[in-house]
């Protein structure tokens, strides 16, 4: 991927994006679905869109998922 497409991808926004507040409000529900192998992205497309675009919320998602998966082992 060259710089042109990377910039384009960064500037592109998704109107389904629910924003940080709602994504974080429901993060535990979303993470449990992902950990269970359920289609979380289909059930909550606006949260999925947000987690793809928002670095800090994506980081929290990865952290919570790692915590839950760590407890399972």
């Amino acid at each position: 991927m060259n710089g042109w497409s990377a910039l384009d991808r960064f500037l592109r926004t998704d109107p389904r994006d629910v924003g940080c507040a709602q994504a974080m409000e429901m993060l535990h529900i979303y993470v449990d679905l992902v950990a269970a192998g359920a289609p979380a992205e289909q059930r909550y497309p606006g949260i999925a869109a947000h987690l793809r675009a928002c670095g800090p919320c994506g980081e929290d998602f990865e952290g919570l998922l790692a915590a839950v998966r760590g407890e399972e082992h």
């Binding site: 109107p15 629910v18 940080c20 993060l27 535990h28 993470v31 800090p56 929290d60 839950v68």
Partner: protein, 223 residues
């Protein structure tokens, strides 16, 4: 982005039935339970373990090391425990109790890492470092003539299309590489508010670049 005041169909319809382990936690943490102190101690121990795991996971990307990182984890666990006991009435059983509880400690780690950034920021908030941009987006030196033109157009759009607040957020996060959570702490704002400003800035800048032929028009139905 979905406006905050618009209902979206991404909320659970009803509270789910509690799983056995979550029910045990709620019972043990009830103020009338004789075993509450023991349950709190056990929960705290779990939160410390999760916090330490999380700072270790993020560690390579943080400018925090050693005992300071461990202190941050302990503080995050202590603050998370306070938040959990204060909000336990809001737990509706839509996830496992531990997943809900761990969310608080992950959030505390994020907030503390964001505040820690300003101990040694290394970037002035009021200067725009446009020289970072080619590296950030991977522009190739061989095509410099083309991307210089694109970045000049982007600079003009930043000056003319954005509000002062959107411009400040864009400059801090995109040009100066200030972490979003650090900016939240510095501006005493919320992650949602800063993200919304950056979201609107991205949308405006892309529209301006597309209108001037630098980027293709979006045909996906998304702005």
């Amino acid at each position: 982005m979905v406006p905050a005041n618009r209902t979206v169909h991404e909320t659970p319809v009803t509270a789910a039935r509690l799983d056995a382990e979550s029910a045990e936690w709620l019972q043990a943490l009830a103020e009338t339970c004789p075993q509450r102190d023991a349950a709190l101690a056990r929960l705290h121990e779990m939160l410390v373990r999760i916090a330490r795991g999380e700072v270790a996971r993020r560690g390579p990307r943080l400018r925090i090391t050693g005992p300071e990182l461990d202190d941050l984890a302990y503080q995050a666990a202590a603050d998370a425990l306070l938040a959990i006991t204060g909000k336990i009435g809001q737990f509706r059983g839509e996830s496992r109790f531990t997943t809900w509880a761990y969310k608080f400690v992950i959030f505390e780690v994020s907030a503390k890492v964001g505040r820690h950034f300003w101990r040694n920021p290394g970037v002035p908030l009021d200067a725009a470092d446009w020289d970072r941009l080619p590296g950030r987006f991977g522009f190739e030196p061989a095509q410099e003539a083309e991307w210089r033109d694109l970045l000049a157009a982007l600079g003009r759009a930043v000056d003319t299309e954005l509000t002062a607040r959107q411009r400040a957020v864009f400059v801090a996060i995109v040009l100066n590489d200030v972490p979003l959570d650090a900016l939240v702490a510095e501006l005493a704002s919320s992650r949602n508010a800063i993200y919304k400003m950056l979201f609107d800035a991205r949308r405006k800048l892309r529209a301006a670049l597309a209108a001037n032929g630098y980027l293709g028009h979006d045909t996906s139905g998304r702005s």
